[in-house]
């Protein structure tokens, strides 16, 4: 079995975020870490405070974009960064908890704000080995 993992992929102007996992929920958790890694190194963020997020959308791809945009909103309005995620997906609904802390400019050295997750290169798929992959480009 492959380990859950995240990575960035190439986009000229912005940046692609991708998560992989044994389940759809795990792939969604990993892609959230990939998005945090656009802003700073996730290991710099202490999971001190938890917040709850939920969203729903008619298909898995729109659900991914909604999930990431819900996090963008929480990051922007709470001035927080998140490094640990627990996601459950039931049909069209996602319920999640994210752990993180207030932005500390000196310690986190945040690079860039994320404006939003986009439909560019948007894909959510179960691969032939049964694992899941979720990805899109985020606008920065």
């Amino acid at each position: 079995m492959s380990q859950p993992a995240w990575e960035h992929f190439y986009h000229m102007a912005d940046i692609g975020v991708r998560g992989r996992g044994e389940t759809l929920a795990q792939a969604f958790e990993q892609v959230a870490i990939a998005m945090t890694a656009v802003v700073t190194e996730p290991e710099r963020i202490q999971p001190l405070q938890a917040i709850d997020v939920s969203c729903d959308a008619p298909d898995q791809e729109l659900l991914l974009v909604d999930w990431l945009n819900a996090l963008v909103y929480e990051m922007a309005t709470r001035k927080m960064l998140f490094s640990r995620f627990e996601v459950t997906v039931q049909e069209q609904q996602l319920i999640a908890r994210a752990w993180g802390e207030k932005i500390d400019i000196a310690r986190h050295e945040p690079t860039v704000e994320i404006k939003g997750a986009t439909y560019t290169e948007l894909k959510v798929a179960q691969l032939t080995d049964g694992t899941w992959m979720a990805q899109c480009v985020v606008d920065v």
């Binding site: 960035h8 190439y10 986009h11 000229m12 102007a13 912005d14 940046i15 802003v39 959308a57 008619p58 791809e61 729109l62 974009v65 909604d66 945009n69 963008v72 909103y73 922007a76 309005t77 001035k79 932005i103 400019i105 050295e109 945040p110 690079t111 860039v112 704000e113 404006k115 939003g116 997750a117 986009t118 439909y119 560019t120 948007l122 480009v137 606008d139 920065v140």
Partner: protein, 476 residues
């Protein structure tokens, strides 16, 4: 891009013949080198835009076009509401009304050189920039709605800047038709503490000097002389615009089917102008435009305060404020007939020529200033709209250089500290809360803006007036 896919119309203009579901051709403005280097995605996205309902004449791409979201960045397209024409959230972009304004200072380069460090430090201290920064203004609900309705006009009424600034801003600083009630509570909450903040990424405030003048006559009308110092501010509608873009992208994607629109790509999500979603978006997007205008107005006020403290003899008068992510209802003459069209400019600058009624009186005889921001540490340009531009791409020109390298590659190639030291040796001061952000925005990660501007000039989209070089740059 493969030149075999295109028909060369003129030295600086290329055409993609309509094929498949394209309703109109696509026209690309650039020289051969820029076209060769242009992303294949620009071809694909321009063709996709040409498939949208109600598109008029052609889908256009500016010389700095690159891969965007649905529309290419550097894309221009106009739609007729009476022919089922659409409005697209992706065709405007997430950062609604992102744009540039340039302020004259009345100072000469030597006046500023000696006080440059203090000026850079003062600007960096007083103008909030970067991730997580908050402004000095915290809007109540009624204040927020008034701002979204009034734009820069609201800001001036609140004491941010001067009445005379307004005539030097598109729409006289206040976009009509804004509907704050169409802007979600989420979007307003995201903006509550972000008024008067620069943001991050490629946004900046730069103190520049006029390094070259290409057209003396227009430059003198604009008040520009070689050696003059100016200030340019590049930013947009902050969290509010981003949230409006995010929410309407989804509602447009979900409602496209009901409107009988078959999307070649989901990210082209759009709605008929004459539909509830379309009208709701236009009202919200116009409120987003006002937010951007108010934001740049507040930053202007903060900038003036810093100058007043450090170089009291400075007088910062606004040359012009122009946005490059918008959809505007405009009158254009098509085959001799005047038509009201909804012109999307995504990463493209409006460039009205001489005598256009929307160009402020003092500038009207020479055409609207077109401000092309460079990237940190590189040249910027002032151009002027031309009469020919009206016939080319609805009076539009390029907006900037565009990236030549991804953020990831840039971060691997450069270190922020080294870059700052190298630029300081060239006399350019950089102030930023993020060294890693500086690395991602390295001058070498962007295309040569001069080539883009030359192509825009030669294609007749706008005329070159002046080149600006940086002295100090505040990076978000």
């Amino acid at each position: 891009m493969d030149l075999n896919l295109l028909t060369r119309v003129a030295d600086y203009s290329w055409r993609i013949e309509p094929h498949g579901d394209m309703r109109v051709p696509a026209i690309l403005y650039a020289d051969e080198k820029l076209i060769r280097e242009m992303d294949e995605k620009v071809y694909e996205q321009s063709c996709n835009v040409a498939m949208l309902p109600g598109i008029v004449q052609a889908a256009y791409a500016m010389p700095d076009a690159h891969w965007g979201y649905g529309f290419p960045i550097g894309g221009v397209a106009a739609f007729d509401p009476d022919e089922g024409g659409v409005v697209s959230a992706g065709g405007v972009g997430f950062d609604i009304s992102c744009g540039v304004r340039t302020l004259l200072t009345g100072l000469r380069k030597p006046d500023v050189e000696a006080r440059k460090h203090a000026l850079a430090d003062g600007l960096f201290r007083d103008i909030p920039a970067g991730v997580g920064s908050t402004g000095h203004i915290h809007l109540s609900q009624s204040g927020m709605n008034a701002m979204l309705k009034g734009g820069a006009k609201w800001a001036v009424e609140q004491g941010f800047g001067w009445q005379e600034d307004l005539q030097r801003i598109e729409e006289h600083g206040c976009m009509q038709g804004a509907k704050p009630e169409n802007v979600s509570e989420h979007a307003k909450k995201r903006q509550k503490d972000e008024m008067g903040t620069l943001g991050s990424g490629n946004h900046y405030l730069e103190v520049q000097f006029v390094a070259s003048i290409y057209n003396e006559q227009i430059a003198s009308v604009y008040g520009l002389q070689e050696g003059d110092v100016v200030v340019s501010i590049h930013c947009g509608s902050r969290g509010l615009g981003h949230q409006i873009g995010t929410e309407f992208l989804k509602s447009m994607a979900l409602s496209a089917g009901q409107h009988g629109i078959r999307l070649p790509d989901r990210e082209l999500a759009c709605a008929p102008i004459n539909s509830e979603v379309g009208q709701n978006y236009l009202g919200a997007m116009r409120a987003g435009i006002n937010c951007a205008l108010a934001n740049r107005q507040i930053i202007t006020h903060l900038t003036r305060q810093v100058f007043a403290r450090i170089i009291p003899e400075a007088e910062l008068r606004l040359l012009y404020d122009v946005s490059h992510n918008t959809c505007k209802e405009e009158t254009h003459v098509i085959d001799g007939v005047k038509r009201r069209l909804f012109v999307h400019r995504k990463g493209a600058t409006r460039a009205f020529g001489p005598d256009h009624p929307d160009v402020p009186e003092p500038l009207r005889q020479v055409g609207q200033p077109v401000i092309i921001g460079g990237s940190m540490g590189t040249s910027s340009y002032i151009l002027a709209g031309t009469k020919e531009s009206e016939k080319q791409a609805y009076s539009s020109a390029c907006h900037g250089a565009g990236r030549a390298m991804s953020r990831h590659q840039a971060k691997r190639q450069w270190r922020g500290r080294t870059l700052i030291d190298e630029l300081a040796e060239r006399g350019i001061l950089i102030r930023s809360p993020s060294l890693r952000g500086v690395a991602e925005e390295a001058p070498g990660a962007y295309k040569d803006v001069s080539a883009v501007v030359d192509a825009a000039d030669k294609a007749g989209l706008a005329r070159k007036v002046a080149r600006l070089e940086p002295m100090a740059c505040i990076k978000g």
